[in-house]
């Protein structure tokens, strides 16, 4: 009787042992920093000294400042615009790759092509927009040379327009990959069955392809929204310092060593992004579809 008992007790501890490395990594690199941020957000600030106590002034100041709402509105606006554009691009590119590119070789080749923007550093990618979109950039010069504009278009660079362009450039792949992945799993026979039943190409997309790629759409949306909401660098460079985001404000606070207000701001941002993700998860049961 002893042997099976020993075996069964070893069996029950096995899952915990297996999950331990990941749990450890999460606790050390995610759990502890998060708790620290939350704790610090309640600390008080005196000149440049951080006083470990429990006050709500960081939050009350944050929530009473009109600047906070402007920044959040601006950041959410960026997130929604970029989300809409990358969704259209991600869906279209995936649809083309999955349903129109017949050979696997071409499919993989074109897929790799989508990752080209990631072959260089973030900074270089953004700086490379400047000679293209700048006042005397390629685009403006071409437009003037073609007679389509009589003076350089100002909105091309250091504007909301250029910020959105940079975001779309950076984050489209995060939409393409998950949508491609879920679209590729749609059985061809299911599409044929819909065509057999009289579905037009458009109805196949609306009634079959979109519902069956919703996991990928949800995952891509989470990626893009979280990335845009958490960015300060792109906004800073591409708006030429004329626009800001929540995280840019945070980075300013950190730069002048105002850690508690920055922490409070971070907790607020985290809450809002978590809520947005929760809404997406509510619409699409990502967990169920990933396991199925």
């Amino acid at each position: 009787m002893r042997a099976p008992q020993a075996a069964s007790s070893r069996f029950t501890s096995a899952p915990y042992v297996l999950v331990a490395p990941l749990a450890l990594v999460l606790v050390v690199f995610f759990g502890i920093p998060l708790v620290l941020v939350v704790v610090v957000s309640f600390f008080d600030l005196d000149k440049f000294d951080i006083i470990p106590t429990f006050v709500l002034t960081n939050y009350s100041e944050l929530l009473s400042s009109p600047l906070t709402y402007t920044l959040y509105a601006k950041t959410i606006k960026y997130a929604l615009i970029v989300w809409a554009i990358t969704l259209v691009i991600g869906f279209t590119v995936s649809y083309f790759l999955v349903f129109h590119v017949r050979s696997i070789l071409w499919q993989m080749g074109l897929f790799l092509l989508c990752t080209v923007p990631f072959w260089t550093s973030n900074v270089i990618r953004m700086i490379s927009w400047i000679p293209l979109l700048g006042r005397h950039g390629l685009l403006n010069q071409s437009l003037i040379a073609l007679g389509l504009a009589d003076h350089p278009l100002e909105f091309l660079l250091f504007s909301d327009f250029s910020v959105v362009i940079a975001y779309v450039h950076l984050f489209s792949l995060f939409m393409i990959v998950p949508i491609f992945n879920s679209m590729a799993r749609i059985e061809r026979a299911v599409i044929e069955a819909a065509v057999d039943g009289g579905a037009s190409r458009f109805r196949v997309i609306t009634d079959i392809v979109i519902p069956l790629s919703r996991t990928g759409i949800a995952l891509g949306s989470i990626f893009v929204i979280a990335l845009v909401m958490g960015d300060f660098f792109v906004v800073k460079v591409m708006s030429g310092g004329q626009s800001a985001s929540v995280v840019a404000a945070m980075s300013n606070e950190i730069a002048i060593l105002q850690y508690p207000p920055a922490a409070a701001n971070a907790v607020c941002l985290l809450t809002i992004v978590t809520l947005m993700v929760a809404v997406i998860m509510r619409v699409v049961d990502v967990r169920r579809e990933l396991s199925g």
């Binding site: 044929e192 819909a194 057999d196 009289g198």
Partner: protein, 393 residues
Amino acid sequence: MAQAGEIELRHITKRFDQTLAVDDISLTIPHGSYCCLLGPSGCGKTTILRMIAGHEAPTSGDIRLGGESVVGLPPARRGTAMMFQNYALFPHLNVLDNVAFNLKMRGVRRAERHERAREMLAQVQLDRRFSERMPAQLSGGQQQRVALSRALITKPRVLLLDEPLSALDEFLRLQMRGELRRMQRELGITFVHVTHTQLEAIAVADLVVVMDQGRIEQAASAHEIYTLPASAYVARFMGGQNVLTGTVVTIDGGVATLVDGSGARFATPVKSPAPAVGQEIACCVRRDRVDIEKLRGPSPSPGEATNVAAGTVHAIEYQGSYVKVTIDVLESEQVVAHLADHAFLATPLDIGDAVLARWATEDVYLLTGDLTHPPTGVRPGPLQGRESRSRNL
């Protein structure tokens, strides 16, 4: 004027790149009949089905439904409906919406299409309580009923079934094939059913089309295919026959005698035009018309008697109502006999026994057609079937 559900294939050829999938086929399937396309994997049967459905276009030739050419028409405008292998149910829709899908595409209002879907599900005897379930929550048999309802809801004139029973277990397979036949009778429409299982085809079909390598070997009733095969290929593929080959030595009174490589003599009735002396011919004798007796004494020399094969028992398989005995014959094809169980039990045999198999001349049937034709893939396994499907996609 052809009736609505008549299917006519005129010199259909289909190439995929360099491979010839269907090679100049002509066939007429009468309105309201149950037709089975039967053949090993890769013989082109699924391609034919998909061309009738409109999911594949023929390289050349014409397809006529009810007397009108449908080449180039989209599937939904042909009046056909297809039931896919593994059913291809919409995984994100519940049973009712799956069945109602084709009506939704035709702009039928929600309440009405659900009502008709419920009627359809009742007709295929799927319980009402399943109508809210998702396809993944159904058993294979239930999925099949849903797929059948979905295909039939638009009242097609032709139902095309691609290996409809291959995903089911043996018991359900027998039950569902009976039900398919019953549905076909009830609806009075044309069914075209693709299968690689001989017994399935002869059990349900009015018209069995035996195919090999993109060509039709024989298209006839099940009984005719089974008892009067057109070629050695069909006889071997259907499996109920022993094929005998040899050279004609004499023709006398409508009976030809032939001698095979080992010197054994066989006799077969011939009709005019009779084969010439010296010609290679093939004939067949049904397995259940072969008698087996234990050899007592020395083995007779080949050619001593006619329609006798001497050999040793290779395998004995009990089949319930009969016993299948396979005999190794020296320098010749194996002979298989189906013995009635009581006859077998009266004189039991054992593996390795020396036996004589004999049959009557009138039970021998002369085969025409190509003798050199190799019997490819006589018993394709389920894996081979899958292979052909993925290639056809």
